[in-house]
């Protein structure tokens, strides 16, 4: 213990014998750490935004369906409205919002064109808190209530169908008896979405109006539920699954959107790999610096050993030198990361590059997310791997024979 003072003092002074080399190394470590944290914050921000957008598109965090519905979204694979037991969970404190929907495949036709779409009957009051549609109306307005039999279409669909606000379109689908059901709906609102696929693929009307049209009073196809954090849905998932029992299929968004679910799952792995890759790049410099430092000081290391300093202390001194470098470099890197990420809190506007991005479901504003976990991990990776990388030159120094080292020219 008493050796710590002298070891770190020697290490510190030795560090500044070669200012240039030390400064270059410090800059390298700082930039390395900065790259780790900054890039990770961007990556996290991007993925999180993708997930948020994706979740907001329709699925919510957890959904309830008829067990056969996902494989066969037929009108007959419907469920009853939530019973009392389920309502208790849904109205509980952990759930932020939920909504019920009628959801069937259909064909929408204007006077000129037709398209196959997903036809949704929604309750506008609760839908607004779960999905984006209500908030992204660009013409007209959203549905008034569940009985509203106006239809809301996407902007792109409006173009494709070559129709307009206030015009009528015909929805054609099957009723529960496999008979064709069709009805005209007046377009009362147009929504804007991140992707053309969304704008072209979904149309909305009031849930009661849909039930009436399809002849399935009180039946729904889907309950979409939103919790407080998309990363932590295990709790509400379990509560909902318990309340519905085995006759329903309860799915989390990670199951509904396997791509994003998996992406989020492997993010931590990606981040760690990225940290290690950056570290490897800077470890060459670090090890080289230490090898040079040890090589240049053969004689004084020999002197210290000759005077009776234990090899372990020599080893600690080289490690201490490395720790000084890593510590100061890391501190600077963290500071720069914070200074560069903080001004971006309001988001980075990507709209000028966004034409392509929207197509893939990316948001046009990127919010970097610097998390404590990532910062700690980045620093731990650099410090722990840094110490490991320093071991080889340190051990080499501690193995010098004092006489040989002393007389080395």
């Amino acid at each position: 213990m008493k050796m710590i003072a002298i070891v770190s003092r020697l290490a510190w002074r030795n560090l500044w014998r070669n200012h240039r080399r030390t400064l270059i190394m410090l800059v390298t470590i700082a930039v390395g750490i900065w790259a780790m944290i900054f890039m990770t914050a961007l990556m996290r921000g991007m993925v999180n935004e993708m997930v948020r957008d994706a979740v907001r598109v329709l699925p919510g965090h957890v959904q309830i369906h008829h067990p056969a519905y996902l494989d066969d979204p037929n009108i007959v694979n419907s469920i009853a409205a939530p019973d009392e037991k389920l309502l208790e969970v849904l109205n509980g404190p952990d759930i932020v919002a939920w909504t019920t929907r009628v959801r069937v495949p259909a064909v929408v036709s204007s006077a000129r064109e037709s398209r196959s779409v997903t036809f949704l009957g929604v309750d506008p009051a609760t839908e607004a808190a779960v999905s984006f549609v209500a908030g992204d109306i660009v013409q007209g307005g959203f549905l008034e209530n569940g009985d509203d039999d106006g239809i809301i279409v996407g902007r792109k669909l409006l173009e494709t169908l070559e129709t307009d606000m206030g015009k009528r379109v015909v929805i054609m689908t099957q009723d529960p008896d496999n008979e064709i059901a069709d009805r005209g709906f007046r377009i009362t609102g147009v929504f804007d979405a991140n992707t053309d696929a969304l704008e072209e693929g979904y149309v909305f009307t009031g849930v009661k109006a849909a039930q009436g049209f399809l002849g399935i009073p009180d039946r729904i196809h889907e309950v979409a539920i939103v919790g407080s954090d998309f990363r932590q849905i295990d709790g509400i998932y379990k509560a909902i699954a318990d309340a519905t029992g085995p006759d329903f299929s309860v799915l989390s968004w990670t199951e509904l959107n396997r791509y994003l679910g998996t992406l989020l799952g492997v993010m931590d792995g990606f981040v760690l790999i990225w940290f290690v890759v950056v570290f490897l790049a800077l470890s060459f410099g670090l090890v080289n610096t230490l090898v040079m430092a040890v090589f240049e000081r053969v004689r004084e290391i020999g002197l210290m050993l000759a005077l009776g300093v234990k090899p372990m202390i020599i080893l600690s001194q080289i490690i201490a030198e490395s720790l000084w470098l890593l510590g100061i470099g890391a501190l600077t890197g963290n500071l720069i990361a914070w200074l560069t990420i903080r001004p971006l809190r309001e988001g980075i506007d990507l709209s000028s590059y966004a034409d392509g991005m929207e197509m893939f479901g990316y948001s046009t504003t990127l919010y970097p997310e610097m998390t404590m976990g990532d910062v700690v991990t980045a620093n731990l990776v650099v410090l722990s791997l840094g110490i490991i990388a320093s071991l080889s030159p340190a051990i080499r120094a501690s193995r010098y024979q004092p006489v040989e080292a002393l007389t080395k020219v």
């Binding site: 002074r13 014998r17 210290m304 234990k310 006489v403």
Partner: protein, 230 residues
Amino acid sequence: MSDIQCVDLCRTFYQGDTAVTGLDHVSIDIKKGEFVCLVAPSGGGKTTLLNAIGGLDKPDAGEVWIAGKRIDNLGKSALAEMRLNNIGFVFQAYNLIPVLTARENIEFVMEVQGIPAADRHIRSAAILAEVGLEGLEDRRPAKMSGGQQQRVAVARAIVAEPEIVLADEPTANLDSSSAEQLMDLFVALNKKHNTTFVIATHDQRVMEYARRIVKMLDGRIDQDIPQVGR
């Protein structure tokens, strides 16, 4: 009682295929408080013998005893401990740690020994005065002359009051007056603390101080002559 005892030491160095004799069956007894000069022409084996006594190098054969303990068969760590606590070294060439000031260099051994800072300061201040380095305590070696550096090395060797001081050509880089000052200091310490001194040299000025001169030649002890000393 013998402070230093060497029994039939042999040491051969190999440079490629040629064998070079460092020590050739050397036996010597040095008693506590002796003031010995090892004298030999360059290559005579002085440094090799000092290294064997100081536990810095292992003889190929023979035994080394320091203060009644055999040391030639000790492990690295035990040897380091022995050097740290029993022996003060003044090396032939490279003596000081460049990043430490004169005072810090002098205190280095004490610091490694774990002597508290306050004690160290008192002792280093006294020694600095004794070797005539007042005012230079905060200089680093690069900012001192060869003689000043050598005095710092001597101060470090004696400040912890070791049993034995081994000095390898301590006056090699000193002018006459510095050399005299240094030797006076050695003699004074030898008398005051009864410290054993073994000084390797081929410097006539140094030999005048010796109370025993051991002459070596080609790794053997040639003559062992008592002296009047000073």
